[in-house]
Subunit: 187 residues, 2 copies
């Protein structure tokens, strides 16, 4: 299971049954036998940033599970009412207390095994004064050779960092605005 199963109807509380609804659907859903509510479950979006200051990138040491004490780019679940860019800015503020300017969407990575899509935006860090929030043990800047590759919390983060350093090397002259958006999936 990707998540804990739905046991009761969100509308009336009756125990649900998993079956294919009668409306032409092709997948099993949690259906309420009392009020006919169909409960859909869909992938979640995780939104974050890759903040850059001179030749360094900002990473946060996680103070929460999963992967407590591993390093990540600032990121978290997109909330209702937000755009992807707004969510990425908010998470960067919450986790690192970092003042940034978003530069553009950079990676869009589907992770079907856990039902998530991860978005990372390139960002310009405007100040090295950081104020990590309660979800972060420590926030600091790393040059490429300092990145703790074996201690990165998530593969979407290490892939985003690897792509960024590769793009930076191969386009010394080019503006970061010319870095292509990468859309792919991790199995």
């Amino acid at each position: 299971m990707l998540r804990s199963p739905i046991k009761h109807c969100r509308n009336c509380g009756t125990a649900v049954v998993y079956r294919i609804p009668d409306d032409g659907d092709t997948r099993e859903r949690a259906v309420c036998p009392a009020c006919d509510t169909i409960h859909y479950e869909n992938p979640l979006n995780v939104v974050g940033t890759l903040p850059v200051f001179a030749d360094k990138v900002l990473l946060c040491k996680r103070n929460i599970e999963p992967r407590r004490n591993k390093w990540t780019l600032p990121a978290g679940f997109l909330e209702l009412g937000e755009t992807a860019a707004e969510g990425a800015l908010r998470e960067t503020d919450e986790e690192a207390g970092a003042r940034i300017e978003l530069e553009g969407l950079y990676t869009v990575i589907s992770v079907p095994r856990v039902g998530q899509v991860h978005f990372f935006y390139r960002a310009r860090l405007l100040s090295t004064e950081l104020a990590p929030g309660p979800e972060t043990v420590e926030a600091r800047l790393f040059a490429e050779h300092e990145i703790p590759w074996e201690e990165i919390a998530f593969r979407t983060v290490s892939e985003t960092l690897r792509l960024y350093f590769a793009d930076r090397r191969s386009s010394q002259e080019a503006s970061p605005d010319s870095y292509p958006v990468r859309d792919f999936s991790l199995g």
Copy 2:
């Protein structure tokens, strides 16, 4: 409200209360007073394609609400277990019975008012034989001057079409692979 509110706990069926959880969260969630389950609700991803054959694009006339009888690019909700690209392919098959080859992510459009993010991939239509499914009244190809702009179902679709025709005009020489990915939001 973006969606109908959660009234009962998915785990035990008890009536929930909306409050800020005690775990450092900052938003009201549906919390179960009996088993403490916190119910998160997050934006949904809609994934689809912009299938092109020669100078024409494929549109589908919707046979379902909302916007029944309006025209759309083939698209629908991303499902658990899928990548964004897989979902876009599946929806194109289900709604148009179209054989396509995906060419690249093209638009990523946040629509915070309805709690959605829409993804459209450029695609090459491999055959003009179409087999619309039950959610589609009719699927057909349109040249730019034939597009029924006033009868397009969703703004994310009309914006994606407008960008595509503009990019095609301004880059006659360039490969579609050089079309930039567009990330923006619609209020």
